[in-house]
């Protein structure tokens, strides 16, 4: 019992450490003060000014850019990665190993190296950096994760199903669309979500590929802001909103997953009962 209390206390302590900074942001999103840590009375001014555009437009632009880039990058990565995974799964062992190895490079490489290497690529090709280069860079580091989340679905799939579809007269393209895609859809969805969050959160790759035309995403905006000596107060409100949305999403997902396992358990028990009664 004692041991259990100590264990739980340890977990709580770690969580307090992890959440202390976030709680401070959330609490101080309800006061107007410019400097974080200075309480000047309760106010929802930061939230209003975030939505009514009272903030300088560059923050709104940065938020828009972040979401548009993430949406494009995640969609293209999901398409490219899924098509690639279907292809890679069908390659012979040697080639498959090589492709998988290269696929792992952007995952293992630190962001700063990915950023600098792409920067050198665009410089060498003489491409002006801006929206396109950022999107291309994000696709580069997102697609490997899509491939990795789709691949297990493909390897776990019974290969006979595909063959059966062909035997029953489906063309290969039909077989892929009707048989393979439905099987791997969960992998595609989790790949898309992963790519989207990676893109939103990225800083190191973006800062090397966004060029000098003033294209800012949320990350680079915050960085520039912090270097100037302080966080735009509205960002506290924005961070709090993001946190709450993510929290709600995770709770919903968790709740649904739990309900599903419970339902599965119930079904299994019923099956057991049936078997027993038959005896």
């Amino acid at each position: 019992m004692m041991k259990r209390t100590i264990s739980l206390a340890y977990l709580v302590l770690l969580l307090v450490m992890l959440y202390a900074p976030i709680v401070i942001i959330a609490v101080f999103s309800f006061t107007e003060s410019k400097v974080l840590g200075n309480w000047t009375g309760f106010s929802t001014e930061l939230y209003t000014s975030l939505f009514t555009g009272g903030v300088n437009n560059s923050l709104i632009d940065a938020i828009k850019n972040t979401f548009i880039i993430a949406l494009i990058a995640a969609s293209v990565s999901t398409l490219l990665g899924t098509v690639a995974a279907i292809g890679i799964n069908d390659l012979r062992y040697g080639k498959r190993r090589v492709v998988n190895f290269v696929n792992n490079i952007p995952i293992l490489n630190p962001d700063i190296i990915t950023g600098i290497s792409l920067f050198l690529l665009f410089i060498s090709l003489g491409i002006t950096q801006g929206y396109t280069t950022v999107v291309l860079a994000h696709i580069t580091f997102c697609t490997p994760y899509v491939v990795l989340s789709v691949m297990p679905r493909l390897t776990q799939m019974n290969p006979n199903i595909y063959e059966a579809a062909l035997d029953l007269g489906a063309t290969p393209l039909q077989a892929i669309r009707r048989v393979i895609i439905p099987e791997i859809r969960p992998g595609m969805i989790s790949g898309f979500i992963l790519a989207f969050t990676l893109s939103i959160d990225d800083f190191a790759v973006t800062i090397f590929t966004n060029g000098t035309n003033g294209l800012e995403t949320l990350s680079t905006y915050i960085y520039a802001d912090a270097r100037k000596g302080g966080l735009t107060p509205e960002l506290r409100a924005l961070s709090t909103i993001i946190l709450v949305v993510v929290l709600v999403l995770l709770i919903v997902v968790n709740y649904r997953a739990r309900r599903q396992t419970r339902r599965a358990e119930q079904m299994q028990e019923q099956l057991k009962l049936k078997k027993n009664s038959r005896r």
């Binding site: 401070i24 974080l36 840590g37 952007p106 630190p110 700063i112 690529l121 961070s239």
Partner: protein, 266 residues
């Protein structure tokens, strides 16, 4: 002609071609460019001057060693703090555990820079000075979940009957841990170390913000050189970092093949 195209498309293996071409352009070529640039002088001829400069300039070399030191300390602290947490989590009821694991992962959904600035605010709030201590706290704070998750994953999938068997055979709780649980969790530890060490060695913005720009890490040095147009020198420094990372992953690769696959966050 059209028939050939359909035939080509219907072979599944040809579906890998677009991505192979994409990777050749955006993954392989850029890395080759880093190598080319780092062995080039400003005029474009082959030269070792960038590396000579690194060795002869104590500042960059010192920053490099200092960064490795900070990364090692951070990794060690994450392991010391994270292992017990992962162990405790793996002993919880599965439904409770998934909730707590979620709580550990949740902060990572907030932008790294915002979290870092929040750490700065916390230090201000508690009247603690910014500097090395804040830097290490901030790094541990940012990367701890990456250590807990893979270890938890391995521990949770461990076959309970192994522990029971050890107990039945008369092992004390301590022996069960040192002889059974810990050895079996090594793949998780290895992938946790990789997931913490690799990003810590290459961070740049976090260090700037947490130390009021007083302490420079190797990542910052690389970034400054690239920003100031010293691409060749910056590329050489990147290559040095790549070599260190290559060595680390070779070091851990053989043991972590499963662990790394299980270490993913989704």
């Amino acid at each position: 002609m059209l028939k050939n195209i359909t035939k080509f498309l219907s072979r599944r293996r040809s579906w890998s071609i677009p991505y192979v071409v994409f990777m050749a352009i955006f993954v392989v070529t850029p890395l080759v460019l880093i190598m080319i640039y780092s062995f080039q002088a400003k005029d474009g001829g082959f030269s070792m001057e960038n590396f000579e400069r690194f060795i002869n300039q104590p500042e960059a070399a010192n920053t490099f060693i200092y960064s490795i030191g900070i990364a090692l300390i951070t990794t060690l602290l994450c392991l010391l703090l994270g292992y017990p947490a992962a162990y405790i989590l793996s002993r919880l009821k599965p439904s409770n555990a998934s909730l707590v694991v979620m709580l550990f992962i949740l902060p990572m959904w907030i932008n790294v820079l915002v979290r870092t600035l929040a750490t700065v605010a916390l230090f201000d709030f508690l009247r603690l000075p910014l500097g090395e201590g804040a830097l290490i706290f901030g790094m541990v704070y940012n990367f701890l979940p990456f250590m807990i998750y893979p270890i938890y994953n391995v521990l949770q999938k461990m076959d309970v009957s192994l522990i029971e068997a050890a107990e039945d055979l008369g092992a004390t709780p301590r022996q069960v841990f040192t002889r059974v649980v810990f050895p079996l969790s090594v793949p998780g530890i290895v992938s946790g170390i990789m997931m913490v060490f690799m990003p810590t060695i290459s961070t740049f913005a976090i260090a700037e913000l947490l130390t009021m720009n007083n302490i420079k890490l190797f990542g910052t040095t690389i970034q400054e050189n690239i920003n100031n147009g010293m691409w060749h020198y910056g590329a050489a420094l990147s290559l040095i970092m790549l070599v260190i990372i290559g060595i680390t992953s070779l070091f851990t690769d053989s043991e972590s093949e499963d662990g790394a696959n299980e270490g993913g966050l989704l």
